[in-house]
């Protein structure tokens, strides 16, 4: 208490020395700080409650006295009641005005608006409402426009205050620790904790006769001031100070001083002792400062001279609205895209820094056959971030499909009305809206099957589709249906990956692209047919091997489909001339993968292309290029045409006794010498 008389003596000095070398008191402005969930609530209220009304919606702002000159807003800011939390913060009450159009946001007169905000504050001060509920002293208003379609927000906060009067410091502000004893700090904290949350931002303390302190509400303190006839002020005015500047009090004091002067005008000739509460009750506000403040201009109460200040500056220090684009977090589609990309990026960052995800994402993938394999491949492509997927299939979803074919549901089968290609493309978009998926209902023309009316048209369509995509996944369930796409992908020099299934075995094979091996002079890696000297006849009639696809162990298609996609992803990591077992950042890129579930084995043999291949040999490609119509007619109607053309017929006689199945154990045993045999 030793310091109290000292303050009084300074007070005397003041009256003698008049307004010499006075330091103008500057208040540190508040800045707005918004939680992401604040904007979610803004959207919800605009859509569900306010709609087209431009209402002044009450809002609660939070601030602290911990070196934080920010007023924070979150979704609970829209609640009318503050649930008395243990979390320690001060509350401020203001309004939010959400404009309907960007134009009405832009053109409304900002000076008029600030005057409107300020006058409401003035009314609250004049009426004494702000004394009863001090949480309306640190007033604020926010003007906003919300673009709910694009999740773009324009907003401008104002913390309205009065431009006058001017205040100055009577002396250098000091730490309250120099004035108050530890016991007095204890009383301050004790009294503070007993205040209601809306009274904690502004209150008063007076000393008792015993030298102790009593904390009282602002209302009680003002009553005390009003009844005080002495020229010296009584006790201390206290406010919770958000300022982070040692010698500058925060913005809330500005309105408090005006309120005090309005209700106790006699105070203007004396020095106001103001405690800027800093820190928190747990540390007994030990960082608090004592400001001795006096008024340096007089005519502040004249109504006509009142001017308001308080628009918030943006980050560049200019008085203008702020803008924020939250589409990445608020637009569910964009959010899904971001999350998918993030997962992939994490893989890149953590495991394979050289992984080229863009080339995967940009690849246009054509999936021929939207069955068990097609569904599995599509899902794995999506998981890798592929954006463009086209399905070709002519079948409809049937009752047996949904349990194995992961894109279909029972509802697709009812009335057998849904084409697989269309359903698959739709479901992909349902899974991930960012996918650009298309379904083409088309049957693949097949050799040896009596020509269809549409066949020639379909050859052109398929040719165009293969040309327009970066990779073709050949996932149909018959050898015949793989012939044309194999030939066309070779023709267009496009990567093709074929997957074929046996009951408990699988084959995944890449082909189509010319590969020049300098050492061996080989032109390309073998296609599905290179390894098989039987030309595709009408196997749908008398052969059941490929139809075994539907009687495979269910896991086989998932393994093969996943391998096909992984092979593709590894492949595109390298630019061109990807030799068998070439190395990329993800490991090797085999030519083919054969697996056998019965003994859970997998091998990666490679074969070069066969010069007499009925699908990828130069002679076949040239025949197609030179006399397309005739060639196709021959192929579709004459089952032996291709074998005759390539000279396979004669070759076949030599190998008469060798039994060849699509995938069987003899292939495996031979695999090491496979290419030599051919």
């Amino acid at each position: 208490m030793a310091s109290l008389p000292e303050t009084a003596s300074i007070n005397e000095d003041y009256s003698k020395t008049s307004i010499k070398d006075e330091t103008l008191l500057r208040f540190e402005p508040l800045s707005s700080c918004l939680d992401p969930n604040f904007w979610f609530k803004v959207c919800q209220l605009k859509l569900e409650v306010d709609k087209l009304d431009e209402v002044h919606r009450p809002l609660i702002g939070y601030y602290t006295s911990n070196n934080n000159p920010y007023m924070s807003f979150e979704c609970s800011s829209f609640n009318q009641e503050v649930n008395d939390e243990t979390v320690f913060k001060y509350i401020a009450r203001g309004y939010c005005l959400n404009k309907n159009t960007i134009d009405s946001f832009k053109i409304c007169d900002k000076n008029e608006l600030l005057k409107e905000f300020g006058e409401r504050l003035l009314d609250n001060i004049r009426s004494g409402k702000a004394i009863e509920d001090p949480s309306i002293i640190p007033a604020f208003d926010v003007l906003m426009y919300t673009d709910l379609k694009r999740y773009i927000f324009y907003y401008w906060f104002a913390f309205p205050s009065f431009s006058g009067p001017k205040y100055c410091l009577n002396d250098v502000p000091t730490l309250l620790l120099n004035t108050f004893s530890p016991t007095q700090f204890d009383s301050l904290v004790f009294g503070f904790k007993n205040l209601k949350i809306n009274q904690r931002g502004f209150f008063g303390v007076v000393s008792t006769k015993e030298g102790n302190l009593t904390v009282m509400t602002l209302k009680d303190y003002i009553d005390l001031l009003k009844n005080n006839m002495e020229s010296d002020s009584v006790g201390y005015l206290v406010f919770a100070d958000p300022s982070d500047l040692l010698n500058n009090p925060g913005w809330p004091l500005r309105n408090l001083l005006y309120l005090i002067l309005f209700h106790c005008p006699s105070i203007r000739t004396s020095v106001l002792r103001v405690i800027a509460l800093r820190g928190s009750p747990t540390t007994k506000f030990s960082a608090s400062m004592l400001f001795n403040i006096k008024v340096s201009s007089e005519n502040f109460l004249r109504q006509d001279t009142i001017k308001f200040v308080g628009w918030e500056k943006n980050a560049k220090g200019i008085f203008c609205p702020k803008y924020v684009d939250l589409s990445k977090t608020m637009d569910s589609t964009k959010q899904a895209k971001e999350s998918v990309d993030l997962n992939l990026k994490l893989m890149k960052w953590r495991i394979a820094p050289d992984l080229n995800l863009d080339i995967v994402a940009q690849s246009k993938c054509l999936i021929i056959g939207a069955g068990t394999l097609g569904c599995c491949v599509a899902r794995n492509l999506m998981a890798w971030g592929v954006r463009n997927i086209t399905f070709i299939d002519n079948g409809k979803v049937s009752y047996s499909n949904p349990v194995r074919q992961s894109l279909y549901r029972h509802s697709h089968c009812i009335n057998s009305n849904t084409y697989k290609a269309i359903a698959a493309a739709d479901v992909l978009r349902e899974i991930h809206p960012e996918i650009n998926s298309t379904g083409v209902v088309m049957s693949i023309p097949m050799p040896g099957h009596a020509a269809n009316i549409d066949d020639h048209k379909n050859v052109d369509l398929l040719s165009k589709l293969i040309e327009d995509h970066d990779i073709t996944f050949l996932l149909t369930d018959s050898r015949e249906s793989r012939w044309l796409p194999t030939m066309l992908s070779t023709l267009h020099n496009k990567l093709a990956i074929t997957a074929a299934l046996g009951f408990e075995s699988y084959l995944v094979l890449r082909h189509g692209v010319k590969i020049q091996d300098v050492s061996t002079g080989e032109q390309k890696l073998g296609c599905y047919f290179c390894n098989d000297v039987t030309a595709p006849g009408n196997s749908l009639v008398d052969k059941t091997l490929d139809q075994q696809c539907t009687v495979t162990r269910p896991g086989v298609s998932n393994i093969a489909g996943a391998l096909a996609v992984e092979l593709f992803v590894s492949y595109v990591q390298l630019k061109n001339n990807v030799l068998a077992n070439a190395k990329c950042c993800l490991g090797i890129i085999p030519h083919s993968i054969r697996g056998f579930i019965s003994d859970f084995q997998q091998i990666i043999p490679f074969t070069s292309s066969f010069f007499q291949c009925i699908a990828c040999s130069t002679i076949v490609i040239n025949d197609f290029l030179n006399k397309k119509e005739e060639f196709l007619n021959n192929v579709f109607t004459n089952p032996n045409y291709l074998e005759d053309l390539t000279g396979l017929t004669s070759l076949k006689n030599e190998f008469e006794n060798i039994e060849i199945f699509e995938i069987n154990d003899s292939d495996v045993e031979d695999s090491g010498t496979y290419s030599k045999r051919l």
Binding site: S31, S32, C33, L34, D35, P36, N37, F38, W39, N66, N68, Y70, T86, V87, F153, G279, S280, T282, T283, N314, A315, K316, G317, K322, Y323, V324, D325, L326, K328, T329, Q335, S339, L342, K345, L346, W349, R350
Partner: protein
């Protein structure tokens, strides 16, 4: 090396007590589980930190004036019953409410890391939905947390002078951009 939920609550209270002494801003919050009404205790800290703008490689649209821009950092420390260890969720955003991307979080976080700290082992920050609020939060994968506790020699049976939760948090704090006051290291666990 696991920590029981009860131990977590005790250590959390101890951490909060020390935080109060130095005004560090940790709060103990409770969340009522909508499934069974049980109360879940967790620690929360929310702080506005001025970060060097150059660390945020791409420049945030309207912040050209100052070198430092305020970033709101929020940290939640929960108990993870499946891993029996503490679990940290955090988020960072600009004062306009826009969340920082993981790239930006990383660029901030790395500024805290000393060169000799091997970070590859720790590359375990992911983004997922916060279990209490349906907003995306960053998370240090809990498997890393059990690993840290193990490294610190924590075992639920032992009695320790130090608070394992604090020890764990100080170990991982550089990875999540959390500044920890040195005094946490000097204090002893009250028993």
């Amino acid at each position: 090396m696991s920590m029981t939920c009860q131990q977590f609550v005790e250590y959390a209270a101890d951490l909060k007590n020390h935080s109060d002494l130095i005004d560090d801003g940790w709060n103990l919050c409770q969340y009522q589980c909508p499934m069974n009404g049980s109360l879940i205790n967790y620690l929360v800290k929310k702080k506005i930190q001025k970060k060097n703008k150059s660390l945020l490689k791409s420049i945030h649209s309207d912040s050209l004036m100052e070198d430092k821009i305020p970033i709101v950092c929020e940290y939640h420390i929960l108990y993870n019953p499946s891993y029996s260890c503490p679990d940290v969720f955090f988020n960072m955003w600009y004062t306009d409410g826009k969340l920082l991307s993981l790239e930006h979080v990383w660029s901030l976080v790395h500024s805290f890391l000393k060169q000799n700290v091997v970070h590859d082992k720790w590359n375990a920050i992911t983004q997922e939905m916060h279990p209490f609020s349906n907003t995306p939060f960053f998370r240090l994968h809990p498997c890393k947390n059990t690993h840290v506790l193990k490294m610190l020699g924590f075992s639920p049976k032992n009695n320790y002078k130090f608070n394992p939760l604090i020890a764990w948090l100080s170990t991982i704090s550089p990875l999540i951009g959390l500044e920890m006051h040195l005094s946490y290291g000097n204090k002893e666990l009250k028993s």
